[in-house]
Assembly symmetry: C2
């Protein structure tokens, strides 16, 4: 990895060798060890971004549920039977939801307490360890705080104040497939308002609000690969706008959301 | 740039020195020249991806409209007056639309003939050259064909069959800000269906459909920077699934779209 990529160059290095995470593990320490082992990654730069997937954050924070302890409500049982889903997982999604946006044809879309609108409220059964099938992860309670704790540990240990993004894979309306987005941030502005910034022609751009943290999360996912074995990456050269942004800055209030 | 990044490493190099594009310019030749000039980029690899922004593709293909030639309909005039917008641009958006999804509070969301649902139907006034204010770009008529033509020119000139993505910046429901997505592809599958693929624990992932082309487009945008001066990039190490996919594969039919 370049010490400092030239303008127009971005490098992404997924961190190898992070073990299976269990509740109570010191995730920040494991991430720092992986950074220190990674060839050419040190010294970290102040606008490197560390992207960490929700799954390992949730596991370390014990934001998991053992489905064998869950008694599903009749509505969850009926929905699950009809669409070949696990009624206990449906129950967990409903318990976590601030609002059910859509519940039909086997698809359950909810608004989480954080304000995210997503399939299954971010409750996830894949990549949750060998005891799979009985364990699901929830979203971290306060993903900004999760990111901040990792950022502070890195600053203390490595002496560089690196922004941190907690990412998750969300679907979108109108298009197939999931892309990774930011669900927690610390040390950067997730949204960069470029309104009033001159474009290449010196013309003032009118309506460009750039979701930088989401793009950085998507870029990191490309380096993670497709099996979940690499749950974190350093993104170098993306030059995010530093600041004390919160993921809530990314969420559009319902009264502004004109999509149908 | 590494000749072949190790697993878990992705590198993005924006192409410098691409001049202002005018209708009829040989965009592929200009892109190839920029690749050849770019330090360390050659030889291209077969799973490099060239990402090119819609704006330069549209300009080269003359998919532009001179607003001074446009007579807006009364509905466009009324909407534009109320929300301080250009009535001629509103008229162009309405002419291009297959369906008006929402038209209120100054926001015009349409479905394009390609099936994309986006603000202003992809009609764009920023970064369109010094004669700004009077010129807007439309989306390319057939962005897959645009991508394919560039891919074929690269294969002929450089001897490597590199997938090509045409990208554009779209907003999303529920979240502020735009991210870059693919609007045209050639030589890769924009959607990778990982259902049935074992995850890191050997557990079969149930519902992971990865929008790889969109993530590659977002990653490239990080290298473009914020002013529009770098309209293309090579993404190396993302390992997209090769194939003869079409961007239509990315578009969710309305009957499957359960988001509200």
């Amino acid at each position: 990895m370049s010490a400092d990529p030239a303008p127009g160059r971005v490098e992404i290095v997924a961190l190898d060798g992070i073990p299976e995470i269990a509740p109570g593990d010191d995730l920040a320490a494991l991430l720092i060890a992986a950074i220190e082992r990674s060839p050419g990654l040190l010294p970290l730069l102040a606008d490197d971004v560390l992207v960490v997937t929700q799954k390992v954050v949730s596991k370390a924070e014990n934001a998991i549920v053992d489905l064998t302890t869950i008694e599903p409500r009749p509505e969850a049982v009926a929905f699950a039977e009809r669409f070949d889903r696990d009624p206990r997982q449906i129950e967990v999604v409903l318990r976590e939801a601030r609002r059910v946006v859509r519940m039909e044809r086997g698809v359950l879309i909810t608004e989480t307490p954080h304000g995210f609108v997503c399939a299954n409220g971010g409750v996830d059964a894949s990549n949750v360890g060998p005891a799979s099938g009985q364990i699901v992860t929830l979203l971290p309670r306060d993903p900004d705080a999760s990111a901040r704790a990792i950022r502070e540990a890195i600053a203390a240990r490595l002496g560089v104040d690196v922004p941190v993004i907690v990412s998750d894979s969300f679907g979108r309306p109108w298009r197939w497939g999931i892309t990774d987005v930011a669900i927690g941030v610390s040390g950067l502005e997730p949204i960069e308002d470029l309104r009033g910034t001159p474009d290449a022609d010196g013309r003032v751009m009118k309506s460009t609000i750039r979701a930088s943290a989401d793009e950085i999360a998507s870029a990191a996912e490309l380096a993670f690969g497709k099996t979940g074995g690499r749950p974190a990456a350093i993104v170098r050269g993306a030059h995010p706008r530093r600041g004390e942004g919160r993921i809530a800055d990314s969420i559009m209030p319902r009264e502004f959301d004109l999509f149908p």
